[in-house]
């Protein structure tokens, strides 16, 4: 297994661009912003075994912003859950890799998500299940910033703290953009860190959520500080479309956008420093 996180992030980014480019359209911005978090989770933090995807007591990831499915699949493929060639079947009829995560279709996916807000509650349920089983697992749940406008996120936040689910680590992909515009203009979340703290969560604010060293340090900090009955929320200040300049510059337009095979190839060359 490759352990150099920067190389891993580069490869995951290229996989995302390749499979969305092959299809021609996809949720590219919110996939690219998540790469560092997924790389750290699957290549450093999580107790998992790709050879035993249903291993009892494994750590679990719930990608509640289910539209980041392609980023999850690219990471799973890089980690060896399935052949990277399968990534090119993304969203094709009959695929095991649908736009939004589906636990009944994809090896390594532990929760079905896509209707925003629900996956986070499902993760809370899994964290409660883990506590009851006493298996020592950590449940990770990634939510979007736009998703955080769902009331269900805050229902789950309240419950997780009330039930002292300190085996739950949330991750907010705070890329500041949603479909209709900047989050701050559509329906502002700030003060976000204070909201989570007020709900009884430990909060770790990561200044650059696309700096893999900062992200790795934050997850390690969360792991070492586990206990005491408080769930933890990592707020990753990320860049939507991170890694490809023209995609970043699309702003809110990069949420779900067309990407030709040629554009993807050029973007991959840019990331690999070959452009």
């Amino acid at each position: 297994m490759n352990t150099d996180l920067k190389t891993i992030c580069r490869d995951i980014r290229c996989d995302i661009l390749a499979c969305i480019g092959h299809l021609g359209v996809g949720h590219i911005g919110g996939c690219l912003s998540l790469v560092e978090a997924l790389a750290v989770l699957y290549f450093r933090e999580m107790n998992i075994d790709p050879a035993q995807p249903k291993m009892p007591g494994r750590d679990r990831l719930v990608c509640s912003k289910g539209h980041a499915g392609p980023a999850v699949y690219a990471t799973l493929a890089e980690r060896g859950y399935f052949d990277k060639k399968e990534l090119l079947t993304l969203n094709q009829g009959g695929t095991h890799l649908p736009s939004h995560c589906d636990k009944n279709l994809t090896v390594g996916v532990d929760m079905t998500t896509g209707s925003l807000g629900q996956g986070f509650s499902c993760a809370v349920g899994a964290a409660l299940g883990s506590k009851l089983e006493g298996d020592g697992a950590t449940i990770y749940a990634i939510i979007g910033d736009g998703e955080s406008q769902e009331g269900q996120i805050w229902e789950a936040a309240m419950f997780a703290a009330a039930k002292e689910l300190d085996n739950l680590v949330g991750v907010t992909d705070y890329n500041k953009l949603q479909i209709d515009g900047p989050v701050a203009e559509v329906n502002a979340l700030e003060p976000l860190a204070e909201k989570w703290a007020a709900f009884g969560w430990n909060v770790i604010d990561v200044e650059d959520g696309n700096d893999v060293e900062q992200v790795a340090a934050a997850f390690e900090h969360a792991r070492l500080g586990r206990g005491g009955g408080r769930p933890t929320m990592l707020i990753l200040n990320t860049k939507k479309g991170c890694g490809v300049k023209w995609i970043e510059e699309l702003g809110p337009g990069n949420h779900n956008t067309s990407l030709s095979a040629e554009q993807a190839a050029a973007a991959i060359a840019e990331i690999r420093g070959e452009a």
Partner: protein, 310 residues
């Protein structure tokens, strides 16, 4: 005995036998009859507070961990309020979660129109893969509970929570997907679900006194409906009446008509005529919404009169 007491007793047996069986509430454990179980099963009972959406998705998360959750609330909050959570977190994800809605339709009585679900069966029935069960009395409920628990998948239990007159004999044998013919007759079939089954039987006796022999079939499992029994009975009698404590759109009437879509058989409905409920006690509400024995008798006669006319 109150239906909720029977339900709670059976749940307690299930929890005692299997530590993975658990119950989630949204601040209505008392109404569901399960409040006392919190002391006995502290690791299997969880109150989510007034947050039904969270409750439904947490149940799905627990199910993904091998638990067998039952979630409870009043019917409108257990169905239409969390329709998307039932559809996606539970049904689409194939989560083994039992959804229990208490106080269906007019049985919400003094809570009135806001709490009176006339559409819950329609909401749940249109979600792929859902099973819908509505018991008639405590005998049927008691017989059904272990079977419902053993069914692996998403299921909606529509539970009248107060005491009901007993219809089924003590030796009743319950089959989940099989409708029960309670009375045979040649002139029409009354398909009925839930507490109105007793009224359908009373109506059948009155009809018999007037020379009309009604067959009475209890459709306890509204989805998937027992097509075989429905079609065979309707063909034999040649006229149909459905009786339900629910909107005539989306519930039993719709389910029966869908089963009979290719048959030339007249079908009439006693049910809520596409209107909201209102506050009141059962006798008043029965009159106000037409869920009376008298209306069943009259509408049955109309169904019979349509034979050969259509």
């Amino acid at each position: 005995m109150e239906m909720r007491a029977v339900y709670a007793e059976e749940l307690a047996k299930l929890m005692a036998a299997d530590r993975h069986v658990c119950v989630l509430d949204a601040d209505l454990a008392k109404a569901s009859g399960t409040r006392a179980l919190y002391e006995r099963f502290p690791r299997q009972m969880f109150d989510c507070g007034v947050a039904e959406q969270n409750m439904a998705s947490i149940a799905a998360g627990l199910a993904s961990y091998g638990f067998k959750p039952w979630i409870e609330s009043f019917t409108p909050f257990a169905t239409r309020r969390i329709c998307d959570q039932i559809a996606i977190s539970i049904a689409y994800a194939k989560a083994n979660v039992k959804i229990v809605g208490t106080d269906p339709g007019i049985s919400a009585e003094l809570n009135g129109g806001t709490h009176m679900s006339m559409e819950d069966i329609g909401v749940v029935r249109s979600i792929p893969g859902m099973v819908i069960f509505e018991p008639v009395d405590e005998v049927q409920l008691r017989a059904a509970m272990p079977v419902l628990a053993a069914y692996e998948g998403a299921l909606y239990l529509r539970l009248f929570r107060k005491a009901l007159p007993t219809v089924f004999p003590e030796d009743y044998r319950f089959e989940l997907f099989k409708a029960d013919t309670l009375r045979t007759g040649r002139d029409l079939t009354i398909f009925v679900s839930g507490f109105l089954t007793k009224d359908a039987l009373d109506a059948a006796r009155q009809l018999a006194a007037e020379g009309v022999e009604a067959e009475v079939v209890n459709v306890h499992t509204i989805k998937p409906i027992d097509r075989e029994t429905v079609i065979a009975s309707a063909r034999r009698t040649g006229a149909v009446l459905t009786v339900e404590n629910h909107n005539v759109i989306g519930g039993l009437h719709s389910a029966v008509l869908e089963a009979l879509a290719e048959e030339k058989i007249p079908a009439c409905a006693v049910g809520v005529q596409d209107r909201f409920g209102e506050v009141g006690k059962l006798p008043y509400l029965r009159e106000a919404l037409g869920l009376t024995v008298e209306n069943i008798v009259n509408t049955a006669k109309r169904a019979v009169s349509l034979k050969g006319v259509l």
